[in-house]
């Protein structure tokens, strides 16, 4: 009588539910979201329309979706590589910040240097900054066995404080009316806008290309296979001679580099300078995107678009319906819970009734 609902192991993972679970999670989030809107005294249908349809019903809105989805997908693809292999980098927000600092620092140092090489150089500096920040947890894990979850997260706070010091102190724009921000980057260090009247910038197709490259690496490269094996069966991997430490380094440097690129692209794209609030938590939301996208590049791009919509939707319902912006955070948290719960159906069937006596099944 104790187990009225019980789980019965499937023989093998359900391929249907691997992809149906995220859809069901989205659906359940919408259902709970409607209830939440109703509780706040708003018409749920109107609110859902405001949250999920209105923001993307204009060309500008659709491009804004891409502006927000690009960093999410870029970071999530990197994180997914580590998550597959059991390396938990949750400090992407810090690596994003460091990437913005190094790329932005170089952009400020180069000043008005006029060369087509400026943009590649500052982008590379952003990637290297993110990598360097991720190298610290990699070193601490491989040399001292320190848990990368905790170290990468602690470093996020350190990176944000570092950025705060730079924009309040040495890098503050002398002509900036005392605002905590740097001088605007020179036009040569800016990711150019591709579509007049929008913020659709070069960083977005660049993110697409990078994601494709990572996908090719994972699907075709030997390193992708090693990561998969180490995640599924670390002992088998060890027997095969795959070295755990190399995978820790690889996945942290890759995810750190991509987060750094995303960070500098934010600074050099929609923002155009360094300021304390560079990212609305992209590095953390990307964790949700990675899981929602099944740690697979195609899924991640779709999930990034959806999560980008929750940012836009939150802003829209705040503006037009007076709903709190914090709804976005609630939605983002809910969806991951529902996803984890729905994922149970991949490995198990849910049976109603008493558990069969031992030995019967």
């Amino acid at each position: 009588m104790k187990m009225f609902l019980h789980l019965e192991a499937r023989g093998e993972p359900s391929r249907l539910w691997i992809w149906a679970a995220p859809l069901m999670a989205v659906f359940l989030t919408l259902a709970v979201g409607s209830a939440l809107f109703a509780a706040l005294g708003k018409d749920p249908l109107q609110a859902l329309n405001g949250f999920f349809i209105m923001p993307v019903s204009t060309l500008y809105g659709a491009t804004e979706l891409l502006v927000k989805a690009a960093p999410l997908a870029l970071i999530a693809v990197g994180l997914a590589v580590g998550f597959r292999g059991g390396v938990w980098n949750i400090g992407a927000e810090g690596q994003l910040t460091l990437g913005a600092i190094t790329g932005g620092g170089l952009a400020l140092a180069l000043g008005a240097v006029d060369s087509p090489l400026v943009l590649p150089a500052v982008l590379l500096a952003g990637v290297l900054g993110g990598m360097a920040w991720a190298a610290i947890p990699a070193l601490l894990r491989t040399r001292f066995h320190a848990n990368e979850i905790l170290t990468s997260l602690m470093l996020t706070y350190v990176a944000q404080l570092l950025l705060g010091w730079l924009v309040h102190g040495p890098w503050r724009d002398p002509h900036g009316f005392n605002f905590p921000e740097t001088a605007p980057f020179s036009p040569h260090a800016i990711l150019p806008v591709l579509l007049e009247g929008t913020r659709l910038h070069l960083g977005i197709p660049l993110a697409g290309v990078v994601i494709l490259a990572v996908w090719a690496l994972l699907a075709r490269g030997f390193i992708g296979f090693q990561i998969k094996v180490m995640g599924l069966a670390p002992r088998a991997g060890a027997y095969a001679g795959f070295r755990q430490n190399r995978l820790v380094w690889f996945s942290l440097l890759l995810s750190g580099g991509l987060a750094g690129l995303a960070g500098f692209s934010e600074a050099a794209g929609p923002i155009g300078q360094l300021q304390p609030a560079l990212s609305p938590g992209y590095g953390f939301t990307a964790i949700i995107v990675a899981f929602l996208g099944r740690l697979h590049p195609v899924g991640i791009v779709l999930a990034a678009l959806f999560m980008a919509l929750t940012y836009l939707g939150g802003e829209t319902v705040q503006l037009f319906m007076g709903l709190p912006l914090a709804v976005t955070g609630v939605f983002q948290g809910l969806i991951l819970f529902f996803l984890l719960a729905c994922d149970v159906l991949i490995l198990y069937r849910v049976r109603v009734g008493r558990r069969p006596a031992p030995g019967v099944s």
């Binding site: 789980l7 192991a9 938990w88 949750i90 601490l140 040399r143 001292f144 066995h145 320190a146 848990n147 979850i149 905790l150 170290t151 997260l153 602690m154 470093l155 706070y157 350190v158 404080l161 570092l162 705060g164 010091w165 309040h168 102190g169 953390f284 939301t285 964790i287 949700i288 899981f291 709190p324 914090a326 709804v327 976005t328 955070g329 609630v330 939605f331 983002q332 948290g333 809910l334 991951l336 819970f337 984890l340 719960a341 994922d343 149970v344 198990y348 031992p358």
Partner: protein
Amino acid sequence: MEPTLASSLAEAGAAATALIGAMARAATPLALAATGELVTEKAGVLNLGVEGMMLMGAVSAFAVTVATGSPVLGLGAAIGAGMLMGLVFAGLTLSLRTNQVATGLALTLFGVGLSAFVGRDFVGTPLTALPGLSIPGLSDLPVLGPLLFGHDPLVYLSVALIALVSWFLGRTRGGLIVRAVGENHDAAHSLGHDVLLVRYGAVLFGGALCGLAGAYLSLVYTPMWVENMTAGRGWIALALVVFATWKPWRVLLGAWLFGGVTILQLHAQGLGVQIPSQFLSMLPYLATILVLVLISRDAMRVRLSAPACLGKAFHPEH
């Protein structure tokens, strides 16, 4: 001569009292949260949602205290909120057997979002801090009085809870069962112990203490509500459990050490040290990394002191 000596002694005493008091206030939320997480981990469950549970505790305590005027009800609400969050985590990881790391991260992300949502109307609302304890006679003693008996009740509660947990885990049958479940859940199951029930209990206890830790922040430490006001303390508490090698009294030691680091940060500025405030604010995070590295470099020691089934799902049918 005499009066100046006496007055400088009194001055030094007052300074020491203020220092110890500030240290206690910085240490108590860490001690509470880390003690809760320690019990959860002793039962073999790794809950990375400490930060989320603390935030929900902080916002619930603040909202209820503002609404009712009663900090006791506020503390109760925080405990309830922490336990509810724990229940969500336990339901997912224990009954639905989801990955504990992913679920813990989800709990933190959800707690950040939901607490910001719940607390949106309370940003900027003032609140008077919980008063310090006042024991007639004892608290009025010169120097020793305020040093030992002048803190707020939760400081003493955190010490008492650590003593209780230490006694429970080390000296009672119930504690033995919790440890057995954490060390080898299959063996505990074979002996007839209800592994899931014990783990549900441990997660709920952890949730209650994390909620209380959050309440301490929003009612005592800085009596106000700000989004994300825990500022990583939940993660520092997780690191403290490793630092303490899963021993309750060392959690207290670690929490007070971190309290000291925090104080250093506050007082360095008062003493006119020319270091930008951002660098001083980095100290607790850098100290956490340093401490983790120092303790983890001896991999064998951590492996031997960590509960053997930590983070592993229990499948009763096997």
